[in-house]
Symmetry: C2
Subunit: 123 residues, 2 copies
């Protein structure tokens, strides 16, 4: 998945410099679907806060039990949002004992940032 | 708006290195709302393709009349998606004669990419 997004970023960057006009699409329908799904996972304030909390943790991971307090949300709601971030390939989940631990998938956010940067390269 | 997002990126980066644990939120509720609104505008494949077409244009801008063909969408649908991108502060719109011309707001995508990069800095 990370490779797919890096490829999107690359394709867009390459495409941007070679496109003679806007009549040739810069981003394919398939690539845009992959990207849109990830941005959809980020399109919620609580999910962004959860992601920042997980990323900011000293150990690089956070227990779901530590994430409910700062957001003042119930555990089912937090778990629901975390699942969306996992399904989008942004967070990894590991069950240890009774708790699930979450960490940011290495490179996932950088790949998305790269895709955005490639869009903006011509702006 | 660009300044607000740059500030978000900066705050997150600062917060990430200083947070003793995940009990202190890395991203405020207000900042996360601003970011989420922009990601929501990007959470649609057709809007991503429109953005890439506008960004890839030789002149740095694109007429709405040039954007309907590549996506095989009607002009009302294209205009609807473009308005969402304008409202999110990602595209600028200028009316000249009968047509509206769109360009990527300078720095808008880089600011978003920076915010994502700051999230991932600890990952």
């Amino acid at each position: 998945m990370a490779e797919a997004l890096a490829e999107v970023a690359e394709k867009t960057a390459d495409g941007a410099c070679c496109l003679p006009s806007v009549e040739t699409p810069g981003l394919s329908a398939a690539d845009s679907s992959v990207l849109a799904a990830r941005f959809k996972a980020l399109a919620d304030p609580n999910r962004l806060r959860l992601l920042s909390l997980v990323a900011a943790g000293d150990s690089g991971e956070a227990c779901v039990c530590d994430l409910t307090g700062p957001l003042d949300l119930g555990q089912p709601t937090v778990s629901h949002h975390l699942k969306i971030l996992v399904d989008a390939g942004l967070l990894a989940r590991e069950k240890r004992g009774v708790w699930a631990y979450y960490s940011v998938v290495p490179g996932a956010l950088d790949d998305l940032a790269g895709a955005l940067g490639a869009f903006g390269a011509n702006a």
